[in-house]
């Protein structure tokens, strides 16, 4: 029977990992990721999982340890945030290039400096071209569900890529919500056994991982990564379908909220989508045709989906919780370039909000929608919500 628990997002992720019972977890503590590993360490200490837990001396080592573990054929997990993810950076690329099905939970937090421990998306955005699949949760429930689904996507033979489960630092990681968890047995069967591909520990079929790859083959291996990403949307949909059967919760590449007849569409990642849904409910009462398109998956960025959903709308407003200094914000950039070819182009506006944990309230969201209603959007202008001038 599904169980309703009042838990934080961090505990929801740790609980999913307890049910998955991975072979290896290596991590280094960093706010606001710490409770994920704390909860998991307790499961290890209590003997409810069989996991080999490696407390390492840095995030660079944490990612290196899970790369080694995954190459050996183990199911490996780590979690981090912000500058911890930045310290992993080198090895984050290696995990993807070696095609290792690692799962990493990222409690999204601002990058330094000035130093700040609160939520924004600059940490994950700095890894968007690393070759990892990026899933983005709106709340603790989605963080739990994506963690459960992640290994199935990562280990799929057409994919073989690591998965990053993003959930907003503090807002999701430390906020207590009601999360519906599934039975251990159900999760165990859903996740199943890993089909190992070239495990290092198979000594009767020896392989070499990480040898030098020169100008004669490196390009071909990058092309393979490009191809693997193309399979992800299909594989994600298949696994989401399967997950819906055991959970009743249906996921897709994007979450559509009041989108069918919406003339004004907002796009945003993570927990702010909840605030946007609330604001949409209010605006709908006032007769405004507004809707939300929330990417559940940001990498790969599924162009066809956005083109289908955005053509013919009056306006599209994109909210970014990170900046790209000297260029357009990452989500806006992706959406804008994607709809270059659509038949009927909407007006577009870019809004950066919430950097370093700055609050975003319904009146900020309303303000962006009001700009769209009055035709006051400038496609090449970046605006800021909740910033003091």
């Amino acid at each position: 029977m599904p169980l309703k628990q009042a838990i934080t997002g961090a505990e929801a992720v740790a609980y999913a990992m307890k049910q998955i019972n991975p072979d290896v977890v290596a991590a280094y503590p960093i706010t606001p990721q710490t409770p994920v590993v704390e909860y998991f360490a307790k499961y290890v200490a209590d003997g409810v999982v069989d996991t080999e837990m490696i407390p390492v001396e840095s995030e660079h080592s944490a990612m290196s340890a899970v790369v080694g573990a995954a190459a050996s054929g183990a199911r490996a997990f780590t979690a981090t945030a912000s500058v911890g993810l930045a310290l992993m950076h080198e090895v984050v690329f290696i995990a993807a290039s070696l095609r290792l099905p690692i799962v990493m939970a990222v409690a999204n937090r601002a990058l330094s400096g000035p130093i700040n421990i609160h939520c924004d998306h600059s940490d994950a955005m700095a890894e968007r071209d690393s070759g990892w699949i990026q899933l983005w949760a709106e709340n603790a429930q989605e963080a739990y569900d994506f963690t459960v689904m992640a290994y199935r996507i990562a280990e799929h033979k057409d994919v073989r890529l690591p998965v990053m489960v993003n959930f907003d630092g503090f807002i999701i990681s430390h906020g207590v919500e009601v999360v519906e968890t599934l039975d251990d047995e159900l999760i165990k069967n859903f996740v199943g056994k890993q089909e190992k591909i070239y495990p290092l520990l198979d000594t009767s079929n020896p392989v070499t991982y990480g040898s030098i790859d020169m100008y004669d083959y490196y390009f071909e291996h990058k092309r393979q990564q490009v191809e693997a990403m193309k399979h992800v949307p299909r594989v994600f949909k298949e696994i989401a379908e399967e997950f819906a059967k055991i959970s009743g919760r249906k996921y897709d590449l994007v979450d559509e909220y009041m989108l069918d007849d919406a003339e004004y569409v907002m796009i945003a990642l993570g927990s702010t989508a909840g605030t946007i849904k609330h604001t949409i409910n209010e605006l709908r009462k006032e007769g405004k045709k507004v809707g939300l398109l929330k990417p559940w998956m940001f990498r790969p960025f599924s162009k066809a989906e956005y083109q289908r959903l955005l053509t013919g709308r009056k306006a599209v407003v994109v909210l970014d919780r990170s900046a790209s200094f000297g260029a357009e914000a990452p989500l806006y950039q992706s959406v804008k370039s994607t709809i270059y070819e659509v038949a009927s182009k909407p007006q577009m506006g870019s809004y950066v909000y919430g950097l370093g944990g700055r609050d975003i309230a319904p009146h900020h969201i309303r303000q962006a929608f009001e700009d769209a209603f009055s035709g006051n959007l400038i496609v090449d202008e970046e605006r800021y919500l909740g910033l003091r001038e």
């Binding site: 095609r99 290792l100 591909i197 070239y198 392989v207 991982y209 004669d216 083959y217 071909e220 291996h221």
Partner: protein, 116 residues
């Protein structure tokens, strides 16, 4: 050289799935300078064989003794270490290089051999 394969025909992740595959890698194509063996000056001291980082010195046993036979140009990268350590390339008294015709190993630009 083994024919280069397309991206659809190679293992993922840059994995090497067969042992000893470096043997098929023609590192000789990297060579800028080519070592030329002048056997008449060689004393078969085996310094070149000992120092060669790529096992590119071809040696045969004659009456139980090793004889320098030349170079394996498939793997030789032309680093010139062999010519550098060859005792016949230096005059023992002046410590200066001897004339090319007296050397056992001389290094020549690959461009001299483009016709071949």
């Amino acid at each position: 050289m083994a024919e280069l394969k397309g991206w659809k025909d190679i293992p993922i992740g840059g994995l090497v799935v067969e042992p000893g595959s470096a043997k098929k890698y023609q590192t000789g194509t990297w060579r800028v300078l080519r070592p030329i063996f002048q056997s008449e000056n060689c004393i078969n001291c085996m310094f070149c064989w000992l120092y060669c980082p790529d096992q590119s010195i071809v040696v045969e046993l004659v009456d139980g003794k090793p004889k320098m036979k030349g170079f394996d140009y498939y793997s030789c990268k032309g680093c010139g270490l062999c010519a550098n350590v060859c005792p016949k390339n230096i005059d023992p008294k002046t410590k200066q290089p001897v004339a090319d015709e007296k050397k056992a190993i001389i290094m020549k630009p690959e461009t001299d051999f483009v016709e071949e």
